[in-house]
Structure formats: C-alpha cells, structure tokens
Symmetry: D2
Subunit: 381 residues, 4 copies
C-alpha cells in the first residue's frame, strides 16, 4: 500500500530474471514507497529462466510470460492487467517491448540508454501511445534530492550565466576483461547488444544527462576521443569529450570503466559567473555551493535550505541520515506513479523523458562519429 493510501499500481517487468542487476534495483525502487505491486513478468528471453524467475518472485503462473509481445497483449486484455511495465533488458531489447506496451496503452518505465541505435530511438519517438500511456526513462541520478536542488539553483539564477561544466563518471570494473565470466560485462561489451557505444552508452549517457538536467544548457557540438584499452574489447571503455553549449559555455566529460580505484565516481561541477556547485555520488547527501568571494557552503539533503521545494526534491528523512542510490531511483518511480494517477503535476518536467532518451542516443552517435573523425567537433542530431 502506498504511503498516501493509494492502491499500488499493477506493474509488469520485461527482463530482470535471476542474476540480473538492474531488474532487482527497479523492483526495490518500485516497492520502496509502496506505489507499485509486481504482478506479471517476461523476465528472460530464455523460457526456463523466465519461468523460474517468475516463480521466485511469486508471480501467478498465468502471468509469467516467455514473450513480451504475448505479455503486452494478454495483460492489456485482463481486467486486472498491469498498468505499467518496467523494461530492464539489455539496450538492444528496449525498443520492441517499449513500442509494444505503449501501443497496448500500458505505461512504460525503461532503463537507459533508450535503445541501441538512433534509428530505433527515433522510431520510438514516433510511436502513438494508446490511451495516453506515458514514458519514463530511468536516468536515476536525476532523482537525487541535491541534484534537484542544483537544478533549481541554476534555474533561479543563483549561479548567473553558466561558463564551465565538468562531469565525470569513472569506474574500474572493466579494467581487466571479465567478459567471459560476467553476464553484466558480457552484453555491455558486445556491440550487437549494447549498440555503437560501450562506456559512453552505459555511463557516459548518465553523465551527459545529468549535466543537461542540472544546467539546462543545449549542446551545440562534441569533440570526442574514445578508446578501448583492454585488448580485444570492441567497444570503448574510456571516453574523453569536450563539449560546446549554445550561449558559449564549455564542458568536459570523462567516463571510464578502466580507472582503477574508482567505484561509481559520478561527479558534476558547474561554474557560472556568480557561483559554482560541486556534487559527487559517493556522498550524495551534500553538495558544495560557493558564491564568488564567499566561503564555500555545504548544502545537505533536507538541510538548511528553502523547504518549500522539499516535495519536488524527494527528501524522505532528516538531514544527516543518508539516503542513497535506491531512494533516488525510487523517487523516479513514485513521482511517475503520481503522474500516472493524474496527481503529479508538480513532477512534470522533473522526470527524464523519451525525448531525453533520443538526445542521449544522439549524443552517443555524435561522440562515436567525432572520435572516428579525429575528434572533429560534431553536432548532435
């Protein structure tokens, strides 16, 4: 039961069978605020795993599917059918189910990047959802309260005209080749499943989206230098990008899966004429805010800030009690639930959309193109 007494939204899941990482995360996110109840799933493309995974998650026999299309059809036909679906498959398997469920009038919550090709992304953009079915792209870092506050600070003009944006997302888990043994690694480094981008699609798009989300700046062009350092790897595992934004601001983006010693070091720094902000995921409950000529201030989640926006921020518990990755993820889920119920007007504009997903794909494509073209400045789209 949702905290606000609303009946939980009936949720299905495509992908996320036994051993999957992100499906598990989506399920926790759906449960945390009580807004969803998982009742159906096509949890794997392999029938046996789909069945076993469904059983393990306590789904009713007749709502364990081995095919997402069948699931879309069947659930749309049920009185008690799912109202929303979470798509948590590898990238190349986002497009088809997303299209199927939108056309069946079922709301879609889709992991990022949107698709594995720009063509798929644009095709999805043209799909006509039945009954106004809505779409959420889980760029989950946008759910962090202080990221919301950073965005609000930029919008308020507190930073003045923006000048410099530094964003990075270093990891080290692919510093050696775990592809043979590790399911997570295997599909992410396989172009037929990931698409044209490796690190850039998996984490570079997160970093890019975060910078765009907070700054609101439009990208005019990218100059990229992509590498695959681990011998035999087909997709990039290190991404260096310079960014030019409309209006003259400049940026740098670094994403890496080979930066030994980095776990998930997502970091965003934004500098304007009047102030700067600095935020890191490894301690997401605080953020530096510095006005020129004044001491640095440490803003804390739910701390000494303007409380009027606390709802939009997604703050649950008092400052000093850390919230984390799962809460940020859950905020996307619960605010999308409010929108589904027609009660989420205040959250419109705060959640990542299908259009953001298309831009993410354009970013990947432009970066890959620039890198192949000796880092020539390349516009998006």
């Amino acid at each position: 039961m949702a905290e606000n007494g609303k009946r939980p939204i009936r949720l299905g899941m495509v992908g996320g069978g036994t051993g999957a990482f992100i499906g598990y995360v989506h399920r926790i996110a759906s449960r945390l605020d009580g807004d969803y109840q998982l009742v159906a799933g096509a949890l794997s493309s392999r029938a046996e795993i789909a069945r076993e995974s469904g059983k393990n998650l306590g789904l009713a026999e007749d709502r364990i599917y081995t095919d997402f299309a069948e699931m879309a059809r069947a659930e749309a036909a049920r009185e008690d059918g799912i109202e929303a679906v979470a798509i948590v498959t590898p990238n190349h398997m986002h497009f088809a189910p997303a299209k199927a469920f939108l056309e069946a009038g079922i709301h879609v919550i889709c992991d990022k990047p949107l698709t594995s090709s720009i063509e798929d992304a644009r095709a999805l953009q043209k799909v006509q959802p039945k009954n106004g079915a809505k779409f959420l792209l889980t760029h989950n870092y946008t759910g962090y309260p202080l990221i919301r506050q950073a965005r609000a600070l930029v919008e308020s003009g507190a930073l003045g005209k923006l000048r410099v944006v530094q964003v990075e997302y270093p990891q080290d888990w692919l510093a050696v080749a775990p592809e043979e043994d590790n399911k997570q690694a295997a599909w992410r480094t396989d172009p037929s499943k990931s698409g044209a981008g490796g690190a850039i699609g998996d984490i570079g798009t997160h970093a890019y989206n975060l910078a765009r989300y907070v700054t609101g700046l439009k990208t005019s062009a990218v100059s990229a230098d992509l590498d695959a350092f681990v011998p035999g790897r087909q997709l990039d595992d290190n991404v260096h990008i310079m960014l030019r934004f409309e209006g003259g601001a400049k940026g740098m983006l670094w994403a890496s899966q080979v930066a030994v010693g980095c776990e998930n070091g997502l970091q965003l720094r934004v500098y304007g004429e009047k102030a700067g902000i600095e935020w890191r995921q490894d301690n997401p409950n605080s953020m530096w805010f510095t006005e020129f000529g004044k001491p640095k201030q440490l803003l804390t989640r739910g701390g000494a800030i303007d409380g009027s926006a606390a709802g939009a921020m997604g703050v649950r518990i008092p400052a000093g009690h850390p919230e984390g990755y799962l809460e940020a993820f859950a905020t996307l889920y619960s605010q999308f639930a409010a929108i589904i119920r027609g009660e989420g007007a205040e959250f419109e504009g705060l959640l990542p959309t299908l259009d953001d997903g298309v831009e993410g794909m354009e970013f990947i494509m432009a970066a890959v193109k620039s890198s192949k073209d000796d880092s020539r400045w390349t516009p998006l789209g």
Copy 2:
C-alpha cells in the same frame, strides 16, 4: 511480494500516525525488500487521528484500531491476522503493547529505547511470549553493512585485543527550544514520555549499542556528566561519559543535541593492539581500517572484501552506489522476516534483542545515577 518469492508477512503498527517520523521510516523499511505488508494499525492514541491515519495508509476499516490491546486481541483471533507488529510510539508506550502482542503470539518489532523505565524493561524480559513470538529492537545502525563488517573484523581478531573505543552522536536540532512547536521534540524532552534520559535515551543508547555491537566488550562501569543546556529543559541534551570495559579497554561516549553544525554525526572508532577502525554515519559506505605500521585502507560497502559474508552484511547493490539509513533499517526488517519464517539461522545473533534493550536501559540508568553522583564510576544493572 518478497524478492525471494515468499508471501509477505502481515504487519500491524502501533503508533506512527500522521506526522510521526519513525513510523514512516519503519513502513519504508518493511516494504523495501518486499517482506511485509501493512494490514492493521492502532496508529494513534487519539481515536480520530488513528482513524484518519489508517485510512490514509489504506487499511481496511475493520483493521483500524484505536486501542492496541483491542488490536492484539482481534488480530490474534483472525485467520488472516497480523503475524508481526511494529511498535513506534514514544518510549513510555513501548512496554504495554510489546507485552500484549508477545502474549498474543505476535512477533514484535519495537523501537528503542526499550521502555521508559528499567522496571518496565525487566518486566518485559520476563514476559512469556506465546508460540515463541520473537522480538526485534530496532537499533537500526547495526544494519549498516560496514558495521557488520567492523564486528566481523573484531571477532576475527584482526584488531587484536581492544584498547580504546570512541563513540559519539552529535546533533543540533535541540540547540534552541523547539518543544512548543515540534511534536518530535515535545515528547523527547518530556520525562513522563521519554523516561529519565533525554539525549542519552534518544541517541546515547544508539551510540552505546553500536559500540557494544561492534566490539562485543562488556561494560563494567560508567562515569557520566549530563547537562541540560537549553534553559527550562528537564532532560539532558548533552552527554559526556567515560566507559570502562571488562578486560581493561576504555571508552568515551559523547551524545549531544546542542552541537551546532552536526546533523546526525554518529561516529565509531575502535582501536586494538594490532589495528583500528573508524566509521561515520554521514558517509556510511566506507570505513577506515588500519593495521599498525601500514597505510590506512578505505573499505567500501560491497567493495574489495571477503565476499563470503555479503549476505550477513546486507549488501544490496554494487560498491560506489551509496546505500543509506533506510537500507540499514530495512536489513533489520528483512533479516527478522527470515527468522520469523524459520529461514534466518545465519542472522541469529546479528539482530538487536530484548536483552540488548534491557542493557540499554541499564546504561541510561547508570549514567543518570553517575551524573547525579558527581560522575562516580557506576556499574550497570
């Protein structure tokens, strides 16, 4: 539905009506891993609020109670009655419901401190639970994965014989008197509801429990100096305690509600003959571990550690994606669920018990006594 496909445990709640903080936390914790479903409640001692709160949480009309005793009786009698109850009332209202539900054969999850008096605590210890009903005391900080790892490190002998324990829990929210306007502050500073201890009961017991949980050291005596700095306040808002442990280790405990600039700065440092550990709640996903003569190592939750104990640790997601307060709380709930289902042998001994609660009360009483007695060394119990 629980992640492991088990049917959720039917949960009731005593306290936690509209505006309550800790009840909300308990509900999130109960939902996060899918192990519980809230189906009944006596959410307030005031009938109207109880009813409205129950409705807001979507409880069935006939399972919204205005009296916990009636609830215990009625639910015990139902085929589909609650299997466990969360007691989230102010301290003086822990004893009676805990006794009632245990005697009704319903498992009890009780917030800390155990009671508001040592007499109540000992009386509760003597209650004979029906049908082996179990008891969980939510000293939630024991659910942090790195606290579990710290305990395992101590147990393994990695620190050698322990010498010094420094624990502290500073806050600042009571630095001025918010008692008039703030429900949370009002009962915590009222001896008739909190008991003999203010800060020492509210956060000092958390700090004490954490030190005991990680070190396993038994306390021989305390020397305390308690203060109420805010004019008119009846209970302590700053706690200075020196600790002596059996075997010769020594400790210091500081708890404060008037330390301006501190949000929830729980910190534990333990030093032995061979190594030391240092952990802070404001970044609970890392912990210092230093062996004598070697560089400090930053252990991270789910990071480069012995994975064999990951289950007991309660790690959900990869290192670098921060988990927080709610996940630690939820780990207590889900591991207690496993114990309720008879599947939690590995968690026995990891969860705070009624006996821990009695010791917490003895700690409060000894500290208050010592402080009144010019800080004379005073044994517990």
Copy 3:
C-alpha cells in the same frame, strides 16, 4: 635577513643535537621568516655530541658549549652574544636553562610542557628576568591561522555562550613499545625525564592548551582516566578526561599514543548557543563554521574572511596553497621576534606564555591526581 629588513636576532639553542626531532623543527621555524640566526649552542648534555652537532650546524668553535650554564654566562658577556635561546631538551631539562638564561637577560623560547614538575613550573614563574627578558612557550598549534581565526570568532561572540568543547589528539606511534630503539620514545616514556605524565604531558597539554586558547574558558575541574596499555610502560599512553569550565560549559579531551591509524590527529570542536566550529590539524587550512539553522561554511586560511586581521593570523600565501606545521611554528617565532624588537604590540596576548605553561603543568597534575583517585573531579592548581 628578515623579510622586513631587520637584522636577524642572534639565537642560541639548548638541546637539539644530532638525531633530535624538535630542535630541527625549531631551527626551521627560526629561519623561515628570516628573523633569527643561530650562532651558539649547547646542543647535547654529552660533550662529544654537543661538539659534533655544533660543527654540523656551522657554529663557531668558541660558541659550541657543553654546558648551558657556561653558555648563558659566556654569551651574556659577549658584545655579539645571543639575544634569545631556544630550549628544546626533554622536559626535566627545561627549568634550569630557562632560569639561567632569563636571569642572564636572554629571551627564552621553551618547548612544552613547561617543566617536568609543578614545583619547577612555579619556581620558574617566580624568576626575575634580567632586563625584561621575555618568554615564549611553543604551543605551536596556536600559530595556525585558522586557530587564530577561531579564537577571534569566539571573542567576537559569533558562537554565543559556549556550551561544549571536544578536543582530541590521537597518535599511534607508541602502540607497540619502541622505547628500546627510539630516542624520542625513550625519554617520553621515562618518568625521570618526562615527569608524571606521558601522553598527557606530550600531547594532552597541546590539546588542552588549544582548547583554552580558542575558547578562553577557565577550567574548574577535571575527571580523568589514564592508562598505560603497552605492557611495562610506566607513563600513560591513553588519556580520557572530562572537563568542567567556569560558567557551565563542558568538555572532553582524548589524547592517545596507541590509537592505531592516527598520525597526529589533533582536532578541536567548539559549540556555542549560536554557532559551532570544527578544525583538524591534518587539513589545517580549512575550518567548519556553522551558524544554527544555516549551511555549514568552510572557512579557508586566507580565504573569504575579514582581511583586517590577516597579520595577526599569520597568513603568508594565498588561500588554496596549503601552509602547515612548520609555518605555524614559524609564526610563533617571528611574532616573538617582533615583540623582542619592541614592534609586536599586536601580537601581545596571542603567544603562549609562562603562565600558560604553569597552567599546563597544573592540568597534568590534576589529571594524574584525578585518575589515581578513581576519576574524582579535581580542580587545577
């Protein structure tokens, strides 16, 4: 040559021969701002080492002494004799030379603690310095610019009435017994050289002095629990003290030489009715300052502060370029030089005095007494 064109003050040194740590530090501190020139020394009580050390430091043959009394006499008689002397011997060898040089009209810069006994300390207090010879006690941490700023903040009333003072100085270099091999360890753990206190005299007095320096609070009593954890050690290596100040503020002091993983973790935290400050030596160029209900501010040395007091603060280079231990030490030396030259009125009151040294000894004695007396509250003096 001093930065301000003044002729360097002629300096002598007692102690500080080959292999000594603190003598080396004093020499760097004396040179850093160009205010002193070392021209004479009784660098060791062992004649051979004294001679060799003097030669190594380039002293003229006739100004290398093997006896401090002879040195005081001879230098006082020379036209070009030393104007000041640095006393950097073990504690039990502070009193006699300090007395001798003061009575010879030579300014004294003396390492802490003042002496090895309270009787010596008080006797020194009664010495009549010839020609107004002045005395500096090198509680060097008082030379940190942000410590000066912390003191100024307290004095200005920015914190309001003080309530809680937490100070600590943990180290780990004596966690095992290095006494046999290590000259520094040997005398510090030998009561005949250190006096009645071990850790409390070596680092506890630093912590105590720092708290007193910043807060200005007067101590009414201490309750102490001292331990010698390393087998066979005669003096304390871990110090737990509760403090009561006049006016009602309370404090805790922890000093340890057995806290594995701590290098020189001096930390001071002061909380008042209106604001709190927090400073750590391991990053001495920043300090937290938090006003109640506002975000934490990170004040930086020479950063966005009131520049009017920069001179008294001892800031040399721009914010962001770290200064450290040696600069703080040198600030004491150069401000004492200004006082010697009669140009340091603004520094009067900022430098640790002989009276501070006597109080430090009273603190040691009171703590040792309290600890022997089962931590009974014991007044100083």
Copy 4:
C-alpha cells in the same frame, strides 16, 4: 646556516620588489633550509621601487641594482659575488636576465613559464652557461613528497602500463575582472607580458608539467579549446585540453581561473593497468593508491612507506604534521643547492630543467594553435 653546516649560497634576486607575490615565496623557500642568503637584488624595473625594496630586505647599498645586466656584471666581478640568482619577474622578463646570469657563470633559479615566447625559450636553450652554471625551473609542485612518491610508483611499474591521465588546476580569482586594481592580475592578463597564453601559461603549464613529471609519458598531440570568459579579457581564462601520449595513453587537462569556489585545486589522477593514484594539492600530505581489486590505500607523506627514498622525497617532519606549498618550494631550492655544491647526485633528474621549460612553452603554443584551429590535434614542437 644550512642544517648540514654548509655555508649558505649567496643569492641574488631579479624582480620580487614590494608587493610581489612570488618573489616573497622564493625568499621563504631559499631560507627555509638555511641553504641560501640573499645578498643582492634588482628587485624592480622601476629604480625607486628597486631601491626601496632592497633597503626593506636589508641589502647592502652597493648591491641594490636597478638593472639586472649591471647586476650580473658587477656580481660576477666581486670576490663575494652571488653564486645563484632567482628570477621572479613576469614571463616576458625571464629570458634576458636568465641569459645574462648564465653567461656570467651564475646559477639561475627561474620561475615558470620559462619565457613568454617559444623563440625566447629555444634561444635560452642554446645559451652556453659559463663555468657550468646550472638552471632550475621552479615548477614547485614537483617538490611535494607524495608527487615524488607517485613518480617513483609509476617508475617502479606498480601501476602497470599507463592508460588515463586526468589533471586539473581550477582557480576562481579571475572570475571577475580585477585587472585594474591588482598587479598580479594585470600582467598575467596582458599578452605583452604573459605571452600568448593566459591561464594556460600561468597554471596550465603547472598542471601539464606535473602530469609529465609523474607519468614520464611523452605527449604526441593536444586538442584544445581555450576561452576568455570575462568580457574584455585578451588571454584565455579557461582551458580544456585532450591529450594523446606516445604508447596510447590518453589524458584530459582542465585549467581555469573562473571556476567559482576553487582556490588552487591542482589535482592529478593517473590510472594504469594495475593500479591508480590520486593526489590533490589542497591536502598534499596524502595520496590515494589503489591496486585493482584491493581496497584504496591512503598513503601519507612520511607515513607507512618505503623509507629508503625519504631523502629524495623531501620529507622533513613526521607524518600527520602537515607540510605544504612552501616546503615543496623549499625542497627545490635545497636540492638545487646540493647540486650547486656538487653533492646532489641523488637529486639530478628530480628537478625541473630548462628543457622542461622549453617543452612547457611548446605545450602552450600547441594548445593555442589547436584552439585557433577548431581543436585540431596538434603535435608539440
């Protein structure tokens, strides 16, 4: 007198008159270890200021010069003439005095960047120093002990083959235009004095040099995007550069004078196949070192490391007592003194050279060229 009893080297200074920042730093650095004595100076190009500054620093009347050429000639002719000279003028005034003193047989300590033009740099490279006069370029950050250790770790193979180098140097002091009021700002933003580069010459070369110093990697090309954000500013105040190194490693360099909230945020991160290191100037006494699959280790200056190299590292005082910018600077001075005295064989190769200065100029020129050429990859030299 030097700590090792050697006679101090007689030092002159060109530039560094009243109000100058870096001249003051050089003087402290020269004094700190007692290896130099300032005896002559041409401290300003304006005669009156030169005279007054010389007097203020206590120079003898006849050794206060108003012209560096005259100073070189006169001092070379004196029996007691200067043995070394520090050149601390704005960039465009490095070449001529450096040439003059080298040709006069006087050792040169020169601030960076080497010159204001690549032509001057190369011309200086061809100068034939008289009597083997030596040259030190004060890329002072190379004097930090942990930077020395980082370099040793790379050389030892502990990181394996290098892959990624991230270096940055953000400041904010030029975020608004202080050029009118501020002498430091005025010449740095004036192409006739600074040369073709603004931020890139002032701090970008420091960052570049540091990356080169630690990694030993040779640069094959740079792709740069330089901006002048402050209206009216002629030289760059923000520098974005991608780097390609021989052997395939890649890098990013960010230097900025408009990053509001950054003081002197020099940071270097180097990742190899086997391990990574991360160091920041704002806390220069610790450095992360992480081997793949193991916990992060915090190496500390003088801490638990291989002590065999401590001399080369330049460690003065025990771990935990912070050293800073001035000590690092002084280490360059004192190790250069050892070389001048013919006793510094162990330091050969550790100090920045004239060749490093030429490469720094090539780096500036290549970056400026690349930026004008739409960030085309541009080789150095």
